[in-house]
C-alpha cells in the first residue's frame, strides 16, 4: 500500500484535515520512547493509500530529543519507496508561521524526488473576512502545487484527492531559483519575504482573538475565568466521572454475580471473583475518568484556552522547575494520577514533562482519601477549637493534602536544580492560537483512542499484578486466613523493615496489598482484624487499630508514608507506557519508597519525642 505523509506546523488544522481525509477511521501509535502520536488511516476516497499524520513541528531543525525523533522519522520516510506523496498544511491566515517549515519540507521532498502538495488551510476564514490568497503565484514561488482548502467545512478536499490520484504527473511549477541547495538561513529569509508578499495584512484576522484575550488574560476577569474553568475541570474528573465509575463497578458486579455461582470448584470460584473480576475492575474503573478528562482537556486545547491557562500558571510553577503546562496534569492528579499522566502529553518540553511525571504521584489523589480518613479518625480527636470554627480532623486532612503537594513541588525543584538536561528543555515561547469552536467528532475519537490505549496497554500489567497478589494472599491455605498466607508470610519477613515505624506485620501486609491500589490498605486491615466491609464502616476498624497498640507516632508515620510512596501499580504501568521507559517507573517507585520511608521515620521519631 502506498503511503502519503501529512505534514504541518502546530495549530495549522492538520489533525482536523487528517480526520476529514480518513473519515476518522484511523489508529494511533507512539514513536518509541516519546509521547508523540502518529496517526495512520486509509484515505476515504483512495482506500489503497495510507495517510500518515506526522507530528506537528515548527521546523525540521530539531532542538529537542522529541523533535529529533520526529524529524528522523520524516527523513526515513522520504527514503521509503512506498511513500508516494507528501501533503504539507499551512495556515492561510498566518503564512509567516508556516512558510519556513513548508519550504524546508519542499526542499527535502525535491532532494528525494517525492511529489509534494501544499494545502492552504483555513481558506474559509479568509473568505469570511473578504480576504484572499493568490495560490497560483504562491505555487510558483514555493515550486509546488498549492491547493486552497478548509478542514472545517470540507471545501477543496476533492481537489486534494484528485492531486493524489495524479501524483506522478503533478508539475512542480518552478520558475524561480531551485530550493534544493538552499540553506535553512536562505529558506528563512525567503519564507519571510513570501509571507510579506502573500500574507493577509491588517488587524482583521486577530481582532476577535485580541478582544477575548482582553478578558481571559485580564488581571481580574482572567483570574476569575481561570478559577472557574479549573473548577469545572476538577468537577469533571471528581464528580461527573463518579456515576460512570459506579456504573462500571455495578456492571462488573452484576456479571460476576451471574457467572460466579455457575463455577463449582471453590478455588476457581474465588479466583474468578477476586482475581479475574477484581483485576479487570481494577483498571476498567479508571476508563470514565480518562475519557472525561481527555474530553475536557481536548475542549480546552481545541478552543485555544489551554495556551492561556499555561501562560497564567507559568511564573509560579517555573520556580519549581516546571512550566505553565504542568498545572492541568498536576491538578488532575489530585483526582487520579492515571489520567493526569496522560494529560502531561500536552507538555512539549521533554524535560518539563519528566518533571511533571515526578510531581503527579505526589498529588493527593482520591485513592489516598480512605487511608487518610481511617488514620485521622484513629489518631486525631474529633474536637474543635475557636468556637467550632476549626476541627482538628479537618485541619489534619488539609495538612496531609498540602504536605503531598509540597513534597511534589520540592522534588521537582530539587531535581531541576541538581540535574541539568539542557538538550531536552525548550524555551517558553508559546503560540497563542486563535479561539475556535472545537470539533466534537474528532475529539470523541481521541477520547476513545486514549481509553483504548489504557485498557490494552496498561490493563495487562495491572491485571497481571492483581493476579500475582491474589495468589500470594490465597495460597497455601486457600483463602482461609490472610495471616498465614504467603502474603502474610511476606508481611512477617518485612516486619523488621516497618518495626522502626512502630508497625507490626499486619500493617506490613496491608502496605504490600495496597500496591494494587492505595485504598486496598483499609480493606486488607479489615480482613486481618476480621471485620466485614471495613472500607464502608470504619468505626470498628478504628477501634481495632487502637486495641492493636498502634501509637500516635506510628499513625502519623503511616500518613506521611502514604502521602509520598508510589503505592499504585496502575500509575506505574501507565508511567512506563507513557514515558516509554520502564526504568523510569522502577526508579520512581524505589525513590519514592525510600523518600516515604525516611520521612515517615523522621515523623515517627519527632512525634514520639514530643508526646
Amino acid at each position: 500500500m502506498s503511503k502519503v505523509l501529512l505534514m504541518g506546523s502546530p495549530n495549522s488544522g492538520k489533525s482536523l484535515l487528517f480526520n476529514r481525509l480518513t473519515g476518522l477511521h484511523h489508529k494511533v501509535a507512539n514513536f518509541p520512547g516519546i509521547t508523540v502520536d502518529v496517526s495512520t488511516g486509509r484515505l476515504q476516497h483512495l482506500p489503497d493509500r495510507e495517510l500518515i499524520d506526522f507530528p506537528g513541528t515548527y521546523s525540521l531543525q530539531a532542538i529537542s530529543a522529541d523533535e529529533r525523533v520526529a524529524v528522523d522519522y520524516f527523513e526515513r520516510s522520504l527514503r521509503d519507496p512506498d511513500v508516494s506523496h507528501v501533503l504539507c498544511v499551512i495556515d492561510a491566515t498566518r503564512l509567516e508561521k508556516s512558510l519556513y517549515f513548508t519550504l524546508q519540507v519542499i526542499r527535502e521532498c525535491t532532494r528525494h524526488h517525492k511529489p509534494v502538495t501544499v494545502l492552504a488551510n483555513m481558506i474559509d476564514v479568509l473568505d469570511s473576512h473578504k480576504l484572499s490568497l493568490d495560490v497560483a503565484q504562491l505555487a510558483v514561488a514555493v515550486q509546488a502545487p498549492v491547493l486552497p482548502v478548509s478542514a472545517r467545512s470540507g471545501k477543496g478536499l476533492e481537489a486534494v484527492v484528485t492531486a493524489l490520484q495524479g501524483e506522478r504527473s503533478l508539475p512542480a511549477p518552478g520558475t524561480t531559483e531551485s530550493l534544493e541547495p538552499a540553506s535553512d538561513e536562505r529558506l528563512r529569509i525567503t519564507a519571510h519575504q513570501l509571507a510579506q508578499r502573500f500574507g493577509a495584512s491588517g488587524d482583521v484576522l486577530i481582532r476577535n482573538q485580541t478582544r477575548l484575550d482582553g478578558i481571559f488574560l485580564h488581571s481580574f476577569t482572567g483570574g476569575v475565568a481561570f478559577f472557574f474553568i479549573m473548577y469545572l475541570l476538577f468537577q469533571s474528573i471528581f464528580t461527573w466521572a463518579a456515576p460512570l465509575m459506579d456504573a462500571v463497578e455495578t456492571v462488573l458486579s452484576t456479571v460476576a454475580d451471574w457467572v460466579i455461582p455457575m463455577i463449582g470448584n471453590q478455588t476457581a470460584r474465588d479466583f474468578t471473583a477476586d482475581a479475574l473480576f477484581g483485576g479487570i475492575g481494577a483498571f476498567l474503573v479508571f476508563v470514565p475518568q480518562i475519557f472525561i478528562l481527555t474530553f475536557v482537556i481536548g475542549l480546552l486545547e481545541d478552543s485555544g484556552y489551554m495556551a492561556r491557562a499555561a501562560l497564567i500558571c507559568h511564573k509560579p510553577l517555573r520556580l519549581f522547575g516546571l512550566t505553565g503546562k504542568s498545572f492541568i496534569p498536576m491538578l488532575s492528579g489530585v483526582a487520579c494520577a492515571i489520567p493526569a499522566i496522560y494529560a502531561a502529553r500536552a507538555i512539549d518540553s521533554p524535560r518539563k514533562r519528566l518533571l511533571t511525571y515526578m510531581a503527579i504521584p505526589l498529588m493527593p489523589c482520591s485513592a489516598r482519601l480512605p487511608v487518610y480518613t481511617l488514620l485521622i479518625a484513629a489518631f486525631i480527636p474529633a474536637t474543635t477549637a475557636l468556637g467550632g470554627l476549626v476541627g482538628w480532623q479537618g485541619l489534619a486532612m488539609f495538612a496531609i493534602y498540602f504536605f503531598g503537594m509540597f513534597c511534589g513541588l520540592l522534588v521537582t525543584a530539587l531535581v531541576s536544580r541538581t540535574s541539568k538536561d539542557h538538550y531536552n528543555d525548550l524555551p517558553f515561547v508559546l503560540e497563542l492560537p486563535p479561539y475556535r469552536l472545537p470539533s466534537l467528532k474528532p475529539l470523541l475519537r481521541t477520547c476513545w483512542n486514549r481509553s483504548k490505549h489504557f485498557v490494552t496497554k496498561a490493563g495487562k500489567i495491572i491485571f497481571a499484578v492483581t493476579v500475582g497478589v491474589w495468589i500470594l494472599g490465597y495460597f497455601p491455605n486457600f483463602g482461609a486466613d490472610l495471616g498465614t498466607s504467603w502474603l502474610g508470610y511476606l508481611g512477617h519477613v518485612i516486619e523488621p523493615l516497618f518495626a522502626p515505624l512502630g508497625l507490626d506485620w499486619r500493617y506490613g501486609v496491608a502496605i504490600l496489598s495496597s500496591f494494587l491500589a492505595r485504598e486496598v490498605f483499609v480493606g486488607t486491615l479489615g480482613t486481618i482484624f476480621g471485620i466485614e466491609s471495613a472500607d464502608e464502616q470504619m468505626a470498628p476498624l478504628v477501634e481495632h487499630i487502637h486495641n492493636s497498640g498502634m501509637t500516635l507516632g506510628s499513625g502519623i508515620a503511616l500518613l506521611v508514608f502514604f502521602a509520598i510512596a508510589l503505592q499504585c501499580v496502575s500509575t506505574l504501568a501507565i508511567l512506563a507506557k507513557e514515558s516509554g521507559s520502564r526504568a523510569l517507573a522502577v526508579k520512581m517507585f524505589a525513590g519514592y519508597f525510600l523518600f516515604a520511608y525516611a520521612a515517615a521515620l523522621l515523623a515517627y521519631q519527632l512525634t514520639t519525642a514530643l508526646t
Binding site: 488581571s219 501562560l311 511564573k315 508559546l430 503560540e431
Partner: protein
C-alpha cells in the same frame, strides 16, 4: 533607544535589532522560526501582573514569551 523585548509595556511597539550573546542558539533558532527576525515589527499586546509571560504580536500571530527569553531580544521602541 535600545532596550529588550521584556521591557515593553502593553501597547508598546518595537523593531527587533537582534539577540544578545547570552541567548542559547536553539532559543534563537526557535524565535527566528516564529518570525522574531531582526527588522521585524513586534507589538506587546498584554503585560500580565506578577511577572507572568508577556504576549506579543508578530504579523498575524500571537506568542507568549517569558523573561528568560524575551530579555535577550534586543529591540528599539517605535512610535
Amino acid at each position: 533607544m535600545t532596550t529588550n523585548l521584556w521591557s515593553l509595556k502593553s501597547g508598546d511597539r518595537c523593531e527587533i535589532l537582534g539577540y544578545d550573546h547570552a541567548l542559547d542558539d536553539k532559543y534563537r533558532i526557535r524565535l527566528m522560526e516564529f518570525g522574531f527576525h531582526p527588522g521585524e515589527s513586534v507589538s506587546c499586546l498584554h503585560a500580565l501582573a506578577f511577572g507572568a509571560p508577556k504576549v506579543y504580536r508578530v504579523s498575524n500571530t500571537v506568542y507568549s514569551l517569558d523573561d528568560e527569553v524575551a530579555s535577550h531580544v534586543l529591540v528599539r521602541i517605535t512610535p
